[in-house]
């Protein structure tokens, strides 16, 4: 199912954090949300999940406005991997993954066969079966990130919306996570991921949605959008291609204030 953003404008207090964003995201592809700090990437993700109020415009999922959907239906279609790995209670990893099945279960039903199968599959995909019975507070950062991803995958959403899933992971685990996101898209489902590292975006993203100060700068295939000149305008620092990696270089003529 398609996910389209139509003229989306979002205010936080009196500040316009998103200003008339329009884009048609396609399933089966990884779409990276890029832009400097404060560009509105997380707000866009949260508006797509109907977690924050929209001033005007709308987000359509398979033709339905996401804010009009029943919360449980929306939860079955859109999986959210937030930036903060908040875990208030120290529960076993498997119990945490189980939470991802909530949108599919009636309020008082236990886990049925479908639920169990989805949980096992999600844990196998994320390589978390080994520590399924360990308590989440005792896991390493990389292990915990995989368990949290398994939680989202267990819900079998059509779209996976991840907010900086690579933060606090070491390079090996970053590549591992990118590979898993790519695999999810390869199954024909949609992935939207907020990234900070442009090299990661260049490596994984099929499409890139570039934001600056709440406005859409460019949206399209990654190779077209990730142009050093355009990135320099948006980020306020220069970029050089070294192999397939985009390396930031110091700003020329002191024009770097936009990067704050």
């Amino acid at each position: 199912m398609g996910l389209s953003i139509e003229g989306l404008t979002v205010w936080l207090g009196k500040r316009t954090v998103l200003d008339g964003i329009t884009a048609e995201l396609r399933p089966g592809r990884v779409t990276a949300l890029l832009g400097p700090n404060g560009a509105g990437k997380s707000s866009l993700l949260r508006a797509m999940l109907a977690l924050i109020a929209v001033e005007s415009g709308r987000v359509l999922l398979d033709g339905c406005d996401v804010t009009a959907l029943d919360p449980r239906t929306r939860a079955r279609w859109l999986g959210y991997l937030p930036q903060s790995a908040e875990l208030a209670w120290n529960i076993p990893a498997r119990s945490l993954v189980e939470l991802g099945r909530a949108p599919h279960r009636s309020p008082f039903a236990g886990l049925d066969e479908t639920d169990r199968a989805a949980i096992e599959r999600a844990m196998a995909l994320t390589d978390t079966v080994r520590f399924a019975d360990r308590l989440t507070h005792e896991l390493s950062g990389g292990e915990r990130a995989r368990v949290l991803l398994a939680r989202v995958l267990a819900g079998e959403p059509d779209w996976l919306l991840a907010d900086e899933p690579l933060a606090s992971l070491d390079p090996a685990h970053q590549l591992d996570m990118l590979g898993r996101l790519h695999g999810f898209a390869a199954e024909g489902r949609g992935v939207v991921v907020v990234l900070h590292d442009l090299s990661h975006a260049a490596r994984i993203a099929d499409d890139v949605l570039l934001l600056s100060e709440g406005r859409l700068v460019a949206f399209g295939p990654a190779a077209d959008v990730l142009e050093p000149e355009r990135l320099e305008q948006v980020y306020g620092v220069g970029f050089e291609r070294v192999g397939d990696v985009l390396v930031p270089t110091p700003p020329r003529n002191g024009e770097g204030d936009r990067a704050r």
Binding site: L49, P71, R72, E86, L87, A88, W89, L99, A102, R105
Partner: protein, 324 residues
């Protein structure tokens, strides 16, 4: 230990506590004297049965609501008193005592329930539709201190020392001299409150991932908050209305059961209700057994026992980094 085994064991402890509460006191009533032939049987029927039933119900209510609030606020220090329902119910009762000494128990009960209802309505108004746990706890704290200061003011202007003594005695919480009618009046409210609180388990589990993530998984946080306010208002409000304020049970009991059943909020609810019932039944029996002409009030005893106990718990948690 496996969960069914824990529940079974806790059930046995509650039964033992209930039997102990019927048997123990200044006059011991051994099992051989149970029956209509023995005069001591009337002690059980008239005095101890209502008291034991009340202890059972109040303990269960306080344990359950403590577990729900700790799960909802994701804070191990949460307690039913924190959202102000106990204080406003207490204020309602104090007003009834001040307006008409020796008021019929029905008036006292109704007045305290009205206080609890006021807290629920004010909470809803103060928090609005945001569904934010932080707003909820702040509003509760405001209500708690407001009700507390009005109560203190009313005590200071009480017309005579007898009124003051009655108010203070009532506020400290006790299960003494409650009739079966008192118990039966409160029981439906407590049961309704527990039923409302009991349906929150799944949402509490999801909230352990944070409010936004829980919403992304289909939790309606505004409705959950309304359910918790209503359930606590009914359950704790009616508990306070019949027995005064008994603290610490809701705070301590969830901590006692978590090592047995794990930390998942929905798994803690039923064991906390059973644990609370057992704790109050035994504590109230011990209060009765303490030497001296006057009983120590249950509320005071709970605080005296509870504080050092909780302190020890805190030290142990700190050492094991459970809350690091």
């Amino acid at each position: 230990m496996r969960r069914p085994a824990v529940l079974f064991a806790l059930g046995l402890v509650v039964l033992a506590g209930f039997a102990f509460s019927l048997t123990a006191g200044k006059v011991w009533v051994p099992l051989s004297a149970w029956g209509s032939g023995d005069p001591r049987w009337w002690i059980i029927v008239e005095l101890r049965l209502p008291r034991a039933l009340l202890g059972l119900a109040i303990g269960a209510v306080l344990g359950l609501s403590g577990a729900v609030l700790q799960g909802y606020l994701r804070n191990p220090l949460a307690d039913p008193a924190l959202i102000g329902v106990s204080s406003t119910a207490g204020l309602g009762a104090v007003i009834a005592i001040l307006l008409g000494l020796g008021a019929p128990p029905l008036v006292l009960f109704g007045s305290a329930m009205a206080g609890a209802a006021a807290a629920v309505v004010l909470l809803a108004l103060l928090v609005g539709r945001s569904g934010s746990a932080l707003a909820f706890i702040l509003a509760g704290t405001v209500l708690q201190s407001l009700a507390g200061s009005i109560t203190a003011f009313l005590i200071s202007i009480a017309p005579n020392p007898f009124a003051t003594a009655e108010i203070l005695g009532w506020m400290m919480g006790a299960l003494t001299d409650r009739s079966l009618e008192d118990v039966m009046r409160a029981l439906p409210f407590m049961a309704a409150g527990c039923a409302v609180l009991g349906v929150t388990g799944r949402s509490l589990d999801l909230l352990s991932l944070g409010e936004e993530t829980a919403r992304s998984l289909g939790v309606r946080t505004g409705r959950l908050q309304a359910l918790i306010a209503l359930g606590t208002g009914l359950a704790v409000g009616s508990a306070v209305a019949v027995s005064g304020v008994v603290g610490f049970v809701g705070l301590i009991v969830p901590h006692l059961v978590r090592p047995l059943v794990g930390q998942r909020p929905s798994d803690v609810l039923l064991p906390s209700a059973l644990g609370g019932a057992a704790l109050v039944l035994f504590a109230d029996s011990l209060v009765r057994l303490a030497p001296g002409a006057e009983e120590v009030r249950l509320g005071i005893a709970m605080a005296l026992l509870g504080t050092p106990f909780f302190f020890a718990l805190l030290l142990r948690f700190r050492r094991s980094h459970a809350w690091a």
